[in-house]
């Protein structure tokens, strides 16, 4: 199965669980959600983002929302898939991770996953990347 493009944004509180589960799917999942976001573009981070081509089987288990832009310039939800938390829970349990089904469902419900380009998705959520100074 080929890769699928996705932009996945999770809350800061959900980032550790999300990282652990992604890493359990294989080496390609290690290192996701390392880019911090906030409304101001300054610490503390409120969200984390990963965006790019990801294994289609992983994206198929994730929540997914499609968005449409109105003539007034606002986003409306066109469709929503809640994700397959049960299958993810089964994989996570098999990998020895301690998370409950309810916890994974909670992460899914609070995440923002779409196929929008990352800066479009961040703009819709009014979030900015936190960029520390370069010395």
């Amino acid at each position: 199965m080929s890769d699928t493009f996705a932009t996945l944004i999770v809350t800061s509180a959900d980032a550790p669980i999300s990282r652990s589960i992604a890493a359990a799917f294989g080496p390609g999942g290690v290192g996701m959600w390392m880019t911090s976001l906030s409304a101001s573009g300054q610490e503390p981070a409120t969200h984390y983002i990963s965006s790019g081509y990801i294994s289609a089987e992983y994206v198929a288990l994730s929540p997914m929302t499609t968005w449409e832009l109105t003539e007034q310039g606002s986003w409306i939800q066109a469709s929503h898939y809640a994700g397959d938390a049960a299958t993810v829970y089964a994989y996570a349990s098999e990998a020895g991770l301690p998370y409950t089904l309810a916890e994974i469902e909670g992460v899914f419900s609070r995440s923002d996953v779409s196929q929008q380009e990352p800066f479009i998705a961040m703009g819709r959520l009014a979030l900015k990347i936190i960029n520390p100074p370069v010395v």
Partner: protein, 453 residues
């Protein structure tokens, strides 16, 4: 090198085939990455799945210097994408696709005529009354932008109004029967107009180009038939239409005026330079540690396009995890409208080249030399084959010593932050100084991959 007239070296430059390979002929350490060479690109970090087409991720790019310093990215979603995309329209010739809309009194007939490329893919657009517009619905782009469309007289109603507009924009009328174009005006009086051109292509076809250099945001690319006095936007006009293109005006010097786009992964790449696209959120590549401890000199060459819009702290390239704290390191990063060149030793040099606000494509060749006594002798950048305006943000000197034994990070700081949003067309890091002739040849080579000037 500073102050030398490199134009003399261009007259007697090395043959193209010898650069960049000759830069490593004496065993110099370094890397040479060429995104235009498919044989060096792999979708996964293990290097077992080749890149076979544009819009595929690059998890590994092979080092052509012969030193084996391949760059990889193990995280799936953090891999840059191979691309050659310039035309930003979703469908360039799909006028009945979802990204185009037409009025109730506009009809479109496919495969109606031979198009300028010799295929039978031109459409016949016909107006039968009011509400005869045809426009693109998915093309938001701030100035500077250039819109292109191919038109041919369709037999009735010779006058057409073409608009590239949104918040401001450009309007122009064309007479397809005698092949003339009027004076463009700013839509709603907003926008700095680029003088439109109507270029004859033979067989009655014309290429119309219009746009704005500043002060407008493109949202719609629209045509209407119009009456001869240009007062009424509806007529019995008809025109053959083909091939629409919307791009940033400075995206590629000398590349074809039209790029066919059938789908996000199906578009024309001939004549368009290939590049690695970094998304500005989490994309990067990195090498293993490269032992540069045997040299105090470095030549770093990069063809890139910056697309960051928030204008602050984006790392394009860095030797070591943090130049400012690891002696024997360098970096290139963006800061506002500045391109910053850093060199870290016992002290730190930071040299600013300005102004280079995005979007902009540049060929950068920077010579570093720890043996120099001042920043001007330690950090010697050139941008688009010229010495830029330079200001020392941190005057150093960086101090004597050699470079270190560190990885090279591409597109981010330590693959962990300060993500670069833009494109990389070519990258060469040579652990040695380069002569004036070599620098001129490097600039020519990198620009052949980048089309920056």
């Amino acid at each position: 090198m500073l102050g030398v007239d490199l134009s003399l070296f261009r007259m007697a430059k090395s043959t193209p085939a010898s650069i960049p390979a000759s830069l490593f002929a004496a065993g110099e350490k370094g890397v040479w990455y060429d995104p235009s060479d498919y044989s060096t690109l792999f979708q996964n970090a293990a290097g077992t799945t080749p890149v076979t087409a544009v819009e595929q991720p690059v998890g590994k790019i092979l080092d052509k210097s012969g030193r084996g310093n391949h760059a990889t990215q193990t995280t799936e979603g953090s891999r840059p994408i191979l691309s050659a995309r310039v035309n930003l329209l979703t469908h360039s010739n799909g006028f009945t696709s979802a990204s185009w809309a037409k009025g109730a009194n506009a009809t479109l007939t496919a495969t109606a005529a031979v198009s300028p490329d010799g295929s039978n893919n031109a459409w016949l657009y016909q107006s039968t009354g009011a509400s005869d517009f045809l426009y693109n619905t998915a093309s938001s782009l701030a100035a500077p932008f250039l819109a292109t469309i191919h038109l041919k007289y369709g037999g009735t109603g010779r006058w057409f109004l073409v608009r590239a507009y949104g918040t401001g924009g450009a309007n122009v009328w064309v007479d397809l029967l005698n092949g003339s174009v009027g004076t463009a005006s700013a839509y709603s009086g907003v926008g700095t107009i680029i003088t439109p051109t109507l270029t004859p292509l033979g067989d009655g076809w014309h290429r119309l180009q219009l746009g704005c250099s500043a002060g407008a945001t493109h949202q719609y690319f629209q045509i209407n038939s119009v009456t001869a006095d240009l007062s009424t936007v509806q007529s019995n006009g008809s025109a053959y239409i083909y091939g629409a293109d919307l791009r940033v005006t400075n995206d590629g010097i000398g590349v074809p005026a039209y790029q066919r786009i059938a789908a996000a992964t199906d578009y024309d790449t001939t004549g368009f330079p290939l590049y690695l696209r970094f998304d500005g959120t989490d994309d990067s590549l990195a090498t293993g540690s490269i032992d540069f401890t045997g040299t105090d000199k470095m030549t770093v060459s990069l063809g890139f396009r910056r697309l960051d819009t928030t204008l602050d702290n984006f790392v394009v390239l860095e030797l070591s995890t943090t130049m400012g704290t690891n002696p024997g390191a360098f970096n290139h990063y963006m800061y506002g409208s500045l391109i910053r060149y850093g060199l870290g030793g016992t002290g730190t040099d930071v040299y600013d080249a300005s102004p280079y606000s995005p979007p902009i494509t540049l060929v950068s060749v920077c010579s570093y030399d720890f043996a120099g006594a001042t920043i001007a002798q330690e950090v010697m950048p050139r941008l688009n084959a010229a010495v830029p305006t330079l200001n020392a943000a941190s005057a150093g000197p960086a101090g004597a010593g050699n470079f270190g034994n560190y990885p090279i990070y591409i597109g981010a700081r330590a693959s962990a932050s300060n993500w670069f949003k833009g494109r990389i067309y070519s990258l060469i890091v040579r652990g040695a100084a380069s002569s004036g002739g070599e620098i001129a040849a490097i600039e020519d080579y990198v620009n052949s991959k980048t089309e920056a000037y």
